[in-house]
Symmetry: C2
Subunit: 220 residues, 2 copies
């Protein structure tokens, strides 16, 4: 039975999904700014972050309204509590895209990245955008199977991140310490962005089933 | 008027405060392991992290029970929703202390840090522990004035973090790229630990007043 509570929760999850897509779009443009040392694209990511903050505030207000007005009980509470947690995750994803854009702006007109790691960041950017998109999808569909699968793209991200460190640690790294520091921090920003998308997947599993992904996979 | 709801919320905030203290103790020992290349201390931080995960799970259960059984309305909802958010923050603080301990373990028997940055990390460790302790205090007292002041210790942390980068970027850095990568990541772990303590302060302001720290400071 669909109740007003469920309809409003769906509407809230749609906003959260839109925020995921926005975070993904921000990371896509931040990656472009980073790879091409494109100042105007970097600036647009930085400016657009205000919109993410506004949407976070609006989503939290709606979640409070849902809790207060509909007084959900027991199982229903999972959905709205998860919504609060998802706001924090997606807000953080936006902040991490912002960090990437700020590195691109700080190094402009130079490129922040040595040529030899461009491929890593292009691929990490692609995975980050895919994860944000998939987080949106599972928020909309509430499909716990698909939500569990977000972990796989994160495994690919972790692999890239590990390889990136082997490049940095290689004796033949000739780009100096400053570039190594930038690459280290940037790598961490992409990896954390992916972690938050996976966390959103975990929270959707909990919204939909009341289980952790590990519990859900044992019974399914 | 003190209701059963408020008593249970106080009890929950006490658990959250204990978790802050535990995260602070973990960061204290992780810093010791880092500065002294002490493997057994590093191992103890890593093992004890399980206790933090258990406490997080217990705190979330109690928050759900509080929402479901007492059906709080309007203003009361702030306290319990903030509690869920604080669980996520303090859990992350524990994870960051764990990261520091793992770097110490990975580099053992060598020291991860070049001698010249030891002082920075000793001081960042001290500030991190102080912030965790202060987060506990404000959770217990629900004093919004004190909660706002967590920001000041974080400003000191940010200053240290910035100075650390100037040391890294100095042409005279003679410790190579691998040490620079470690120092970059470690610096970030301490800085993020402090950020989460400040976030807990913000959430206490909201629990106690229904306002953001900025709104609260305008009226007070």
């Amino acid at each position: 039975m669909r109740t007003a509570y469920h309809e409003q929760l769906d509407a809230l999850n749609t906003i959260l999904g839109d925020m995921c897509e926005l975070a993904g779009a921000a990371m896509s443009r931040a990656t472009q700014a980073l790879l091409q040392a494109d100042l105007s694209v970097a600036e647009s990511v930085i400016t657009d972050n205000d919109r993410m903050s506004e949407m976070s505030a609006r989503a939290e207000e709606q979640a409070f309204a849902l809790l207060a007005l509909q007084a959900p009980v027991a199982g229903d509470l999972r959905g709205v509590v998860s919504a609060f947690q998802i706001v924090a995750d997606v807000d953080r994803m936006g902040a991490l895209a912002l960090h990437v854009a700020k590195v691109a702006r700080r190094r402009h007109p130079a490129k922040a990245l040595p040529e030899e790691v461009n491929g890593y960041f292009a691929e990490m950017g692609r995975l980050a955008v895919k994860l944000a998109h998939n987080a949106r999808e599972v928020l909309e569909t509430q499909d716990p199977e698909a939500a569990v699968h977000l972990q796989e793209d994160d495994d690919a991200m972790d692999d890239l991140h590990r390889h990136l460190f082997t490049v940095l640690m290689d004796r033949e790294w000739s780009h100096g310490v400053a570039a190594a520091v930038d690459v280290t921090l940037l790598g961490r920003y992409y990896e954390r962005f992916a972690d938050h998308a996976v966390l959103i997947g975990r929270r959707v599993v909990f919204q939909a089933t009341g289980k952790t992904p590990e519990q859900f996979q044992q019974v399914s």
